[in-house]
């Protein structure tokens, strides 16, 4: 999360009173992780409720409140989420301060990809593990040996956690006599502690691993028997195997039940189906929207060991947010002028952080607002401004031949690395996000005598406001086109994508301008 340098005490009657802010947390997903988070938070004085899916089994004794049901819809902001819950035949609304999505992973069977239907000889990895865990038996064998073929990472990438599951099944199979296991795989996923040594152990003890690059082994039925036909990868010879049992891994994904939470965030398509954008700007379990956190599968992490870090990260994030909930200091945020607003809801639909809601009129939630300024530029009525920063920014105008608009994330960091001698005739204008560059700002810069304008924002996929830099890029492109259409070719405007550690991209752009 970024914090702007200037934080001012700015109170206004326009804000809804924060007195009614709730400090309760709703945790979605009731496996051991959901319960653990709820217990940790309750101990910190954050009353927590766990919502478990209708088809999950609730844990027997736990010290936290558990509801079995599903979310119909949710809306609101940190400290004030209204969640509509369906519980058996009843549905009702409840208020929470935080929402943590910690549902177990959704597993999709790969049977269809291999043109197989469910049969007693075809198992999924998780089902087979559960079967063995509950003391289940192995099927009847045709010969003296039972042959089991595992498929891993073929037809769709698999996760580390599934390789761990496979290895633990192989461990269990050692208790049975005369079982031969084969693993047909693309890439073995060993990038977690201990997995490579564990895999080596099994290979040494007789499990056969075949690794394929592209030619997937084919599974078919012949005389009601399963047959695997494949080209042995090392010898390049055609072979076939008739196993007694085939175990396929599954495709893992986030639970579809995060959908109502996703829909609270207008920029969700950029991260879907996950709740957290895949950007290094979002660390730990934070998402674009304040007060909403994604744990484990909801953010694309399936490794059980990493999940423990996520649980602690959820606790830290809430502990860090709690004092802000009751604080009277309000950072600079977007303000909507009621007299100008025509209720077009552009801002509501566009805010990357889901910080603008609609409650008779569009309203900005000061705690969720990251003051990126995307709404300010996009508002067709110019009814929004960031207060109080904008005023300061416009006043200090110089007459430099080159104007450099930089975002306060990557851009400013990169500029700080450039030798100041190089920037003598360049005026640097920091923006909260490149996405807040408006055509007016560029025109004003030209009016003040600028010969060239460079706008710099984060690389695609690294913008703290998701699509801020992309919006800026297209606005600059539009500007260039406009000038070209009126034959004003001398005006130089350029957009540069960069990161905090690539100052040379600015240097290059300025050098191009100076020519």
């Amino acid at each position: 999360m970024s914090r702007r340098v200037t934080e001012s005490v700015f109170l206004s009657g326009e804000y809804k009173s924060r007195e009614r802010a709730s400090n309760k947390a709703l945790i979605l997903g009731g496996d051991e992780y959901g319960i653990r988070i709820a217990e940790l938070l309750t101990r910190e004085g954050v009353p927590s409720t766990v919502l478990i899916g209708p088809d999950e089994t609730p844990p027997k004794d736990s010290r936290v409140e558990i509801i079995q049901g599903s979310i119909l819809s949710s809306s609101g902001f940190i400290g004030n989420f209204d969640v509509c819950i369906q519980e058996s035949n009843d549905h009702y609304e409840r208020k929470f301060g935080f929402i943590i999505a910690a549902q177990p992973a959704f597993r999709a069977s790969k049977n269809r990809l291999f043109s197989l239907s469910d049969s007693e000889n075809v198992w999924s990895l998780s089902a087979f593990r559960k079967h063995l865990d509950s003391g289940g038996r192995l099927p009847e064998r045709k010969g003296p040996w039972l042959h089991i073929a595992f498929f891993f990472d073929l037809k769709g990438a698999s996760e580390i956690s599934q390789f761990e599951e496979l290895l633990s099944i192989l461990d269990r199979l050692e208790a049975f006599d005369q079982v031969q296991s084969y693993v047909f795989a693309n890439n073995l996923k060993v990038s977690s502690e201990g997995l490579d040594a564990w895999y080596r152990d099994h290979r040494r003890r007789g499990v056969v691993f075949f690794k394929f690059d592209s030619d997937d082994p084919q599974i078919s039925f012949r005389n009601k028997e399963l047959v695997i036909e494949f080209v042995e990868p090392l010898l390049k010879e055609e072979m076939e195997l008739t196993p007694d049992l085939i175990v396929l891994d599954e495709i893992l994904g986030p639970s579809p039940s995060i959908r109502p939470i996703l829909e609270m965030i207008p920029s969700w398509p950029s991260s879907a189906p996950y709740l957290q954008p895949e950007s290094t700007r979002f660390n730990g379990v934070e998402t674009q929207k304040a007060g909403v956190f994604a744990v484990g599968p909801a953010r694309g992490v399936f490794d059980q060991r990493s999940l423990r870090a996520d649980i602690e990260a959820a606790r830290v994030s809430i502990l860090q947010a709690l004092p802000e909930l009751s604080s009277l200091i309000v950072k600079e945020t977007a303000f909507i002028d009621r007299n100008k607003c025509t209720f077009c809801l552009t801002c509501v639909r566009l805010c990357p952080h889901g910080a603008i809601g609609f409650d008779f009129r569009p309203e900005v939630d000061p705690m969720s607002c990251k003051s990126c300024g995307v709404c300010v530029v996009e508002c067709p009525m110019s009814a929004i401004e960031i207060r109080p920063a904008n005023a300061e920014m416009i006043e200090e105008s110089k007459t430099a031949p080159l104007k450099l608009f930089v975002c306060s994330h990557s851009g400013l960091q990169a500029v700080s690395k450039i030798n100041s001698n190089f920037l003598t005739d360049v005026e640097i204008i920091p923006l909260p996000c490149a996405g807040s560059i408006s055509p007016n700002m560029m025109l004003k810069a030209l009016q003040e005598g600028a010969k060239g304008i460079v706008v710099a924002g984060c690389f695609k996929g690294n913008c703290a406001s998701i699509y801020g830099s992309t919006l800026a890029d297209s606005r600059v492109a539009q500007m260039v086109q406009t000038f070209q259409s009126v034959r004003m070719d001398k005006v130089k405007i350029e957009f540069v994508y960069l990161a905090g550690n690539t100052p040379d991209r600015i240097v290059d752009a300025i050098t191009r301008m100076k020519k």
Binding site: A157, V190, E193, E278, T280, G284, A309, A313, V316, G461
Partner: protein, 411 residues
């Protein structure tokens, strides 16, 4: 000086831990032995092509700029812990801080000081800003031997030599974020590192790109083919690493894509065992990567100088036949080895996990002694983003530990 937490190591983990702790209102102090903050990450290049590749190298700049707004958080460079004492759950440490430095504003990089310095590596250029730095860890003057060779020869007066000072620090907790050691590729002589011209490591290529020195290394016109060799010093029990280093697949594929975007004519080959998932759209990335470059599932048995002085790779190819292919450049994707934290001899013994790193076997941040925690690559191989995740994990645990000790639950 009294603080809550002493953070050992100013790499990405230590810095992100300092930031997270400050947000939990925990007072910390950080010591780093190098003259610059950032550790290994400060050598790494941004790998964005036309879009971000999610390598996380820019997180360092992010944390440094966030931390610069925080008051009362000393980040001590050129420092090491000299002595250690524990009493009543409090840790007393004496930090020895070097005060000598190069004044970057005056330095015009003439190179005279570097020539006259009797110690190899005491003066060095940092990859991230190409400026000259003085390592107080290596400088003999900082260690107490009288030597002012560099200061006397510098025509600009840019060398500022000072006596080192001692700082007493008392904390309730210590977080060890001392990082890793990159595998020394010359330990595998058959792979030709430092023997065969044209053989580099991923870290070298990364820092050449970072400091914009890549193009001079090999003439662009001569550079037509590059091969990456995966798992050098990883997944290799014989060389002492019975584990996967977790980061190298991502590093190589991202570097390969970056090079391909800069030099579209370049032919790239990757020798590998298994490609590990390094991002969420892994399937899509690989589908694209397979179009742009060649993947060969084989581990080279030897790299030697072939005809025309180009390095060539000998490997078991299809049908189990020995093959050799020459390349213009060969990059060894080196693994992560346990770090060598510079701690006093009486520092409490910490757990060692099965991989030889500090801590337990399950990515926990406990180090095996009350009040001492471990995070980042000191605990095991990790990507930059996972280091940050574990720093948040450690911040949570440290906060809880401090709350409990204040309540008097431990004594």
């Amino acid at each position: 000086m009294k603080k809550d937490v002493l953070i050992v190591g100013g790499g990405i983990t230590g810095l992100s831990l300092a930031w997270e702790l400050s947000r939990l209102e925990v007072d910390s102090i950080l010591v780093e032995r190098a003259p610059v903050l950032g550790g290994h990450v400060s050598q790494l290049t941004c790998k964005a092509t036309d879009a971000c590749q999610k390598c996380g190298a820019c997180l360092l700049e992010d944390y440094l700029s966030k931390l610069s707004h925080i008051n009362n958080l000393p980040l001590l460079v050129n420092s090491r812990i000299d002595s250690f004492d524990e009493a009543h759950g409090k840790f007393k440490t004496l930090v020895f801080q070097g005060q000598s430095k190069i004044i970057n504003e005056k330095c015009d990089d003439c190179g005279l000081c570097k020539k006259i310095c009797p110690v190899d590596g005491a003066l060095f250029h940092a990859a991230f800003d190409s400026k000259l730095y003085l390592s107080n860890e290596k400088c003999i003057n900082a260690l107490g031997v009288h030597c002012e060779a560099c200061a006397q020869i510098c025509p600009q007066g840019a060398v500022d030599l000072h006596e080192s000072r001692d700082i007493e620090i008392e904390t309730s907790s210590i977080a060890v974020c001392s990082g890793f050691t990159p595998f020394d590729a010359s330990q595998k002589p058959r792979l030709g590192f430092r023997r065969t011209p044209g053989v580099f490591t991923t870290i070298e290529i990364d820092s050449l790109l970072r400091s914009n020195n890549f193009e001079p290394v090999l003439n662009q016109e001569e550079l037509k083919s590059i091969a990456f060799v995966q798992c050098v010093g990883s997944r290799d029990p014989k060389s002492g690493a019975n584990y996967c280093s977790q980061i190298c697949c991502g590093v190589s594929v991202r570097l390969a894509r970056l090079l391909k975007s800069r030099f579209p004519e370049l032919e790239i080959t990757i020798f590998y065992m298994d490609i590990q998932t390094f991002e969420r759209q892994f399937d899509e990335t690989m589908r694209q990567a397979v179009k742009d470059m060649t993947f060969i599932r084989s581990m080279p048995s030897e790299i030697r100088t072939g005809e025309n002085g180009r390095p060539e790779i000998i490997f078991q190819g299809n049908d189990d036949v020995k093959q050799s292919i020459p390349y213009d450049m060969i990059v060894l994707s080196i693994g992560i080895r346990p770090g060598r934290p510079d701690l006093p001899r009486n520092f409490p013994a910490m757990w060692k996990n099965r991989e030889g790193f500090i801590g337990s076997d399950d990515q926990d941040v406990a180090a095996g002694h009350p009040g001492i925690f471990v995070a980042g690559t000191a605990q095991g191989p990790k990507s930059i983003t996972n280091c940050v995740s574990q720093a948040i994990f450690a911040a949570s645990r440290i906060k809880r530990y401090l709350d409990r000790t204040k309540k008097g639950e431990f004594k």
